[in-house]
């Protein structure tokens, strides 16, 4: 890689956009599934989580990438974890001090970011061996790819589980059986297993469209 390479060369663009499709962290790399189950009962927390993970992933990638030539191989995992945890705690503290309402909405998610395997996965697989700018793009791309799946899953779960989107009622009240209608929310949708089933369906659709992903 020459130093003169432009910031958005073809290769760099691919780093940014691949995670959105054929290299998606959730559906292809199967990372970050646990949080995809936990926060997708409604759209709003899913979006907030997507943004937080993207921010933390992008910056921890840059930091690890800057340090990559100094990190001793045998303790690299610990170093990565310390960087992620420090960033998450600082973000949490700043939010609590200056943006208390947002910090309340994020509540448990902030802590959950530390345990998200996408972070460790991308630091280990990419940031440790690449330059800061590429690592930053990889972080943003993977954060967005993760967020995209979260939002799709949350859309279906909130729509069919609660009959609303962003907390706004979509399915008319008069349709419900309790009001003399024919419709009832699917209680299964708001329980975590349904998220796994929806992720499964997304993987199915993605694989049938993109034959490259099918194992020989």
């Amino acid at each position: 890689m020459s130093d003169k390479e432009s910031l958005f060369s073809k290769k760099n663009k691919a780093i940014l956009t691949n995670p959105l499709s054929k290299d998606n962290p959730v559906t292809v790399q199967i990372l970050g599934i646990c949080s995809a189950l936990a926060v997708t009962a409604q759209l709003k927390p899913a979006i907030v989580m997507a943004i937080s993970v993207t921010v933390v992933l992008a910056f921890s990638s840059v930091i690890i990438s800057l340090l990559r030539n100094t990190i001793p191989n045998r303790i690299r995992i610990i170093v990565q974890l310390v960087v992620i945890a420090t960033l998450v705690i600082i973000v949490d503290q700043l939010l609590k001090a200056y943006s208390y309402n947002i910090s309340k909405q994020l509540s448990v998610f902030v802590g959950l970011i530390i345990t998200n395997c996408i972070l460790m996965g991308r630091l280990e697989a990419f940031a440790l061996g690449n330059k800061p700018w590429q690592s930053f793009l990889d972080g943003v791309g993977n954060g967005a790819g993760y967020g995209m799946i979260l939002i799709i899953v949350a859309f279906f779960r909130e729509l069919f589980g609660s009959g609303s989107l962003f907390g706004l009622r979509i399915i008319p009240d008069s349709w419900y059986i309790t009001n003399g209608g024919f419709y009832s929310n699917n209680g299964m949708m708001i329980l975590p297993p349904m998220a796994l089933i929806i992720v499964g369906v997304i993987i199915w659709v993605q694989r049938s469209k993109n034959k490259d992903l099918i194992e020989k």
């Binding site: 936990a38 926060v39 009962a41 409604q42 927390p45 100094t70 990190i71 001793p72 191989n73 045998r74 303790i75 610990i78 170093v79 310390v82 420090t86 705690i89 600082i90 503290q93 700043l94 609590k96 001090a97 200056y98 208390y100 309402n101 509540s107 448990v108 998610f109 909130e158 609660s162 209680g187 708001i190 329980l191």
Partner: protein, 233 residues
């Protein structure tokens, strides 16, 4: 130096830990006062919200001071203790035996009627839940309620913090017609409880709902002597 030598690893790890510790301590110390101010404002907003007064982070302080009639601390026998009710930390009080607890009460005057606000603190599924309940001057009819939580599941247990859930409490009674303390049942679909004394639980949030029910029973129950004394006045 060889990057894989023990010496290098020790030095690297030590420097990293000291740096990180320093950064985190500085962040914590320098942000603490701003954070505590936010917490106090939030508490005032919650108390105001339990008497159905909406406030913003900006006007909460002013509104609270204007609207609150008086506040005092009781013990479980209903006797008034010394101290500022606002400084009582319910988390610490709940760790004490019931007869050693300090129980704060806030009085508000709304449209000519006195409303009593009682704080409460309990456990949900993942962590603590807390809230405030305001009662009409008959000390049975609920005027308003507000709840919050530390780490309940978003979309499920966390729904206790929504207006939609809290609105259900308005107009419910915590004493039955015979004057017995019944508290409020947070009822699942298959539970039958008289409508006057119950609200609907959250689907998918059963453990949080039941935690809330226990919190109401225990923490409103702690004021029983006070209720009795006020009613006989």
């Amino acid at each position: 130096m060889d990057k894989n030598s023990n010496k290098y690893i020790f030095i690297y790890a030590s420097v990293m830990v000291i740096l990180v510790a320093a950064v985190l301590s500085i962040a914590n110390i320098s942000l603490k006062s701003a954070q505590q101010k936010n917490i106090a404002i939030e508490k005032k907003q919650n108390i105001l919200s339990s008497v159905n007064i909406e406030s913003t982070t900006k006007n909460a302080e002013e509104l609270f001071n204007k609207k609150v009639l008086k506040s005092y601390i009781l013990n479980s026998k209903g006797e008034i203790l010394k101290g500022d009710a606002f400084d009582i930390d319910m988390k610490k009080e709940k760790q004490l035996a019931i007869d050693k607890r300090s129980l704060p009460v806030y009085e508000f005057s709304i449209d000519g009627d006195t409303k009593y606000v009682f704080p409460m603190y309990g456990t949900g599924l993942w962590g603590p839940i807390w809230g405030y309940i305001s009662l009409d001057s008959d000390l049975s009819t609920i005027y308003g309620a507000t709840f919050d939580h530390a780490s309940e599941t978003p979309g499920l247990g966390a729904e206790i913090a929504t207006k939609k859930f809290q609105k259900q409490f308005q107009g419910k009674k915590i004493f039955d017609d015979q004057g017995n303390f019944v508290s409020i049942t947070v009822a699942k679909a298959n539970e039958t409880a008289p409508e006057q004394y119950s609200v609907d639980a959250i689907s998918g949030g059963t453990l949080t709902s039941k935690g809330l029910q226990n919190m109401l029973l225990n923490d409103l129950g702690a004021y029983r002597a006070f209720f009795k004394q006020k009613k006989s006045e």
